[in-house]
């Protein structure tokens, strides 16, 4: 409290004049200062934009929670029908939405989120929407089978509460900023750049996971294409691979087998309930295991053996599953950083995937009109 809490001092507020906080404007040519400031800003920003364009960056939409929420709203606006993709990054990158549309006549609703378990999103669709179409669930074993976690769980909150102001900002950004500026990318944010520099290691600090660098560019449909730098710049490709190696080699918590077993049983029960709810509305769920290679594939097959994870999942849900190892045309793709398909192969992969899903559903006796023909 100010020392003037002393009530023996004048209480003030006696008259408007006494308390009017009229501010003065400092002497100086302020209009000129403001215009010159804008000029300085424009010059600096121009230089910054030019620099990032020289580093392979091009204007593209941000893979933001807001774009995800707008895409999610298609569930309601399209009457809860059509095809929906819930996944972590693999089906986000690997499915070519236009190719899917050409094969089926419908543009899928792409709700994949990188580095994030799709299970809470499947539950949200099952329990909080009226979706009754086809749900394609991407299964990346290290994200799907452990307890749900992920970088992008924040997106889920927008299905419950999204203020009008944030919605307007999202539209403004997509209309006036994102399509025009290459620097407006999470990977080029000032403090992201500063923090990822090669700072000296701090004694006593436990090793930290590196931050995943930019891997894709995003279109307004949430079509994500592998960034050409990942494919064509060997140094950058090495950064991407080293990042995955750091994740793969990170120490794992030693979870007792009975805890793992109980957790897996709970997973099967929860996913089974989600699938049951969607089917009860006339929908269907298909699981897809997209391709991986190199150390990623070895770690996934070693840590999450197919017969103990994938097969029980399909059995518990009585669902169709498309595993890339079962179909040569799904595995015949190039994965520059072992985890995602290069942009040029996604068209072919997607068309093959649609054919396999369609055939498997027909074979099961549950053909879907969402897949056309």
């Amino acid at each position: 409290m100010p020392s003037s809490t002393s009530s023996s001092e004048p209480k003030g507020l006696g008259s408007p004049q006494q308390h009017s906080p009229l501010r003065d404007v400092p002497a100086g040519p302020w209009p000129r200062i403001a215009w010159a400031g804008v000029l300085v800003f424009a010059l600096l920003l121009g230089g910054w934009e030019a620099y990032w364009r020289s580093q392979w960056f091009r204007p593209s939409y941000r893979n933001s929670d807001g774009l995800w929420a707008l895409t999610h709203e298609r569930i309601a606006s399209e009457g809860g029908r059509g095809t929906l993709i819930v996944s972590s990054s693999r089906l986000l990158f690997d499915v070519h939405l236009e190719a899917w549309r050409e094969e089926t006549g419908q543009l899928p609703i792409q709700l994949g989120l990188e580095g994030t378990s799709p299970r809470p999103f499947l539950s949200q669709v099952a329990r909080e929407t009226n979706f009754s179409g086809l749900v394609v669930v991407g299964v990346t074993p290290p994200l799907f089978f452990p307890p749900p976690r992920g970088e992008r769980m924040s997106a889920l909150a927008l299905t419950k509460q999204w203020s009008p102001a944030d919605r307007w900002s999202q539209h403004l950004s997509m209309r006036f900023v994102e399509p025009y500026f290459a620097f407006y990318d999470p990977d080029t944010a000032l403090f992201t750049v500063i923090r990822r520099q090669a700072w000296p290691a701090r004694a006593g600090l436990e090793p930290r996971m590196p931050r995943v660098r930019k891997l894709s560019t995003t279109r307004i449909t949430r079509q994500n294409d592998m960034w050409d730098r990942v494919e064509r710049d060997p140094a950058y490709q090495k950064i991407a691979r080293d990042t995955w190696l750091a994740f793969l080699n990170a120490p794992r918590p030693n979870v007792p087998p009975e805890v793992l077993k109980k957790g897996f049983e709970q997973l099967l029960a929860e996913v089974g309930e989600d699938v049951r709810r969607i089917r009860a509305r006339g929908g269907e769920v298909v699981f897809v295991r997209p391709p991986s290679s190199g150390p990623f594939l070895a770690a996934e097959n070693g840590g999450f053996p197919r017969e103990r994870t994938w097969e029980p999942l399909l059995q518990a849900t009585n669902a169709v599953g498309i595993h890339f190892e079962d179909h040569a045309d799904l595995g015949d793709v190039e994965l520059p950083e072992w985890s995602h398909i290069r942009a040029a192969d996604t068209d072919r992969f997607t068309r093959a995937l649609v054919r396999h899903v369609r055939a498997a559903l027909v074979a099961k006796g549950t053909p879907r009109e969402e897949l056309g023909r």
């Binding site: 409290m1 100010p2 507020l13 302020w30 000129r32 403001a34 000029l39 300085v40 010059l43 944030d166």
Partner: protein, 473 residues
Amino acid sequence: MVFNSLTFGVFFALVLAFHHAPGVSWRAKKVALLLASYLFYAAWNPPFVALLWISTFIDWQVAKRIHTAESRGARRSWMLVSVFANLGILGYFKYGGFLLANWQALMRSLGVEWQAPTWDIVLPVGISFYTFQTMAYSLDVYLRRAEPTKSLLDFSLFVTFFPQLVAGPIVRPVDLVPQFAAPPAPVPGRFAWGLSLMTLGMFQKVTVADGLLAPAADAVFGAGQALHWSDAWLGTLAFSGQIFCDFAGYSTIAIGSALCLGFSIGDNFRYPYAAVGFSDFWRRWHVSLSTWLRDYLYVPLGGNRKGPGRTYVNLMLTMLLGGLWHGASWNFVVWGGLHGLYLAVERFVRERVGPNRFAHTWLAQVALAMLTYFLVNLTWVFFRAREFGTAWGMVRSMLTFGDGARVLPTADVALVIGTVFAILLAHGLMRERRLEDVAARAPWWLNALVVGAMLFSVVISQGSSNAFIYFQF
């Protein structure tokens, strides 16, 4: 909507265009400002605009009735209507869950098992600010400090004025309402200076608070484990800088945007980390709240007029309630209690020691300022930590050089140390100065460079419309 968003940019441009349009009457401009303020608030959660209307209606009616009441009892009754209505709204939305949880705990301690009903109430943003602001209007009339305004439009605009609606500064009616009476006289450079202040505020919020300091504070306070003393200190220092830059940034944008519209709002911060002692700190930190508490709580409680004992009680009570104003949590009560204790001890020492020449030497002033900053930082631990146990663990580690986990990488260590040092240096240098005087003395091109560079850093920081910390209060 938040200031650091594209929506606000477009909104503010449209408001400015209409407000400065030639040929539009002053009344039409005020109506437009009022509607814009409602839109500004509704952009979070439209139904809560009704709370603004309720607050406006109650205090408009109450103040008139206080003014015309003939008996002291009637005046007092109408004043209490305002107090109970405003505190009732605040209590329902902000403290309902807290009170129920504590009642449940009390019952349990007495052996009575009682399950509190689920209290899933959304806290309307800025409710603590505008309820205090409207209550001040009725209290001013009751205390005969001001007469009720004759214009409902001006009063509604005072309650709702968007630059300071959701996080202050808490403006007094006598300071703002008269400014609505007539168009502001033109002042050369006011508009551009206002824009420069808005840029400074954005820089404080987006670049410094969110970009430089928040990640370290979040990592430390969210670590969930015992921390090494160095990390506990770094996280606390980071938060001390973050909350200042976040809140002062908001206030500066509010002041700047009001200036662009031709209105003046008083300072809310005066370089508080250069404070020497706690009464000095509260003359510099959240000035509009500390003076509000002084004028509407401490003084009516009796201030220092009822003897030394009551003075200390009043001081402590004022700060405890000031802490609780920030949020429904015992952590905030502890925060307020610590500040009350600091003020009481300072008062006690001052009264015993009296004027001291040594205390005014440069060295002693620096030492006392550092001691003040050190003790303020201890209070921030309770302010920021979600649980009392976390706060206590951190304070123990900070004071006992405790061992534990290191969670901050070198980059954040460097950014926190560099930024906090820069903030302290700036506060030290500006302690006896005003920004306006410094800007007036600087060459014009330097001011332009600083404004341009700050704006550049704001844009390339790519802040994601993070809400201001004080919105939750």
